[in-house]
Symmetry: C2
Subunit: 335 residues, 2 copies
Amino acid sequence: MATIYDVARRAQVSAATVSRVLNGHPSVDPELAGRVHAAVAELHYRPNAVARSLRKSRTSLIAVIISDVTDPALAATVRGVEDMARDTAYSIVLCDSDEDPDREAEYVAAALAEQMAGVIIASSGRDATIEQLVAAGTPVVAIDRAVPGATVDAVLVDTVRGAEQATAHLIEAGYTRIACITGPPHLSTAGRPLLGYERALRSAGRLVDPQLVRFGTPREIGGYESMAALLRSAPRPDAVLVATGMLTIGVLECLLDQGVDVPGELGVVGFDDPPWARLANPPLSTVAQPRYELGNVAARLLVERIGDPSRPPVTVSLRTDLQIRASSQPGSPAG
Amino acid sequence: MATIYDVARRAQVSAATVSRVLNGHPSVDPELAGRVHAAVAELHYRPNAVARSLRKSRTSLIAVIISDVTDPALAATVRGVEDMARDTAYSIVLCDSDEDPDREAEYVAAALAEQMAGVIIASSGRDATIEQLVAAGTPVVAIDRAVPGATVDAVLVDTVRGAEQATAHLIEAGYTRIACITGPPHLSTAGRPLLGYERALRSAGRLVDPQLVRFGTPREIGGYESMAALLRSAPRPDAVLVATGMLTIGVLECLLDQGVDVPGELGVVGFDDPPWARLANPPLSTVAQPRYELGNVAARLLVERIGDPSRPPVTVSLRTDLQIRASSQPGSPAG
DNA sequence: CTGTTAGCGCGTTCAT
DNA sequence: ATGAACGCGCTAACAG
């Protein structure tokens, strides 16, 4: 590969001048600049980004630490980050942590070692991880999680309100024993929908029955098992709110296997609004989340912070959108 | 941040020794190694990966260039790459090209500028893109696409056979006017399933009616529009094979909107086998593809090639698995 | 086995 | 406005 010195020689200038031209430094003789550009083209010169990064102590890489890209909601978020990153000449490094704090810590360590420009992280909850980044002066944006002390920017979805609306809808539809299946209790992403669920019940003068609240393991299997447990309990619930898209799939698989009639025997509202929600049998009511926008906003905040590290941290909360379909309306024709 | 010299000073050794210890170089006095490790711990020293990369003219980054990570099939592939990459201490840089050759070229340029260790690419078809990588000596693995001249390693799914089996199944189920909706004609990923479809028809002594073959634009919308066009045509098809997961969603949306009875009025076999396939109304028959494994194998090949650039290129072909459900069996109870 | 030296390619002083 | 010199942090030669 040609270096900046090769270009300099060919253009009859110094390497410093080549550098200036390439970085759009203002005061350079147009004549020389022309020669430089010509030499660059002739040699197919491409600046070495690694050398530049070493010199500037900063790469143009943004780490995105999430649990798993195969979760469609997270893939959408990643895509939102990437589109913004591209516009601002950053590349993204994908880090799937599977909610494992140790793996998350490894990725954070890598981000530090690689001198990444910033990190967007859906933290599984160990505060020390984010603190390490902050301590190193690396710009961070937390997603899906409020950070205690608000030391960093954060972008989240108002799942409290989303769950509250969904639960209110189920109550209004006439369901009386409404269950809630959410994620592992140690994740804050699990607690927030639960809060909304409880809030709606209380607003309607209902009691919260602990028997009807289940904390599933992540992914489909958690939804499947939690639903199975609920069906075995007595008395059975007559409706269920499921707090993530992945859990929702497991719940529906369980209901299919058990031959439960939806929405007659059991009303269902899921989370996330995948394209197949209306193709399901019956069409599935969901709490739609702006996952792409979440990533996009997070990336914007990160880029802003890289540009101005002293800006006070902000927290952005995005709203959900309740999509009512047949699965939560007992009066409508069943599938 | 502490540098290798800080560690050297504190451990009373030279920087070279520190480097040797850190890189597991064989012959170093255990005594000195101990001092180095102690100093590393005390200073919280973390090697600067950028400096190392500059020195070695190679980073530990692998670029994964695909069309769009929000396609679940591609997300699974990316995950397959990442798991293998993690095991071998690489990080992955995600590049969504949206099938745009220009954007793809940009990402390739970035991979070169960033001195990435290798590239895994689902190329949209411009040969020059891959050639550029090869010319620069960057290890490449092509996925979902055979490369002319077999100059690089490739991993693909035998969609020819998958489509052939699916079509044969539709014929056997009694359908007589079987249509095929595939991707844009300029993508080789579109042509291969088509080939299998035609092959199955010919084997059964049927003619291939060009009216029944549609090349959709990518994503759901392409499936929707192609299906709508087929429904307007006369005589209508009585079955359809859809060659990608994203197109399949669009097709099903169209059928739902048009109130077409599946599988009675129209039999459907889709591609990819998402968890929701059995939750659909009616449960969807699909050609399941080993997408995770595809990425995993591609990553393994890439790592091998990085280790031994002279190894002759290989092409690996993975098999599909036909999942027969209600959508392609007119005899079974409709949804 | 260890230390000294050199240089990966670039951006940025400091002079001119 | 331009060029010379230096150093970002590390590892690979080479000596010893």
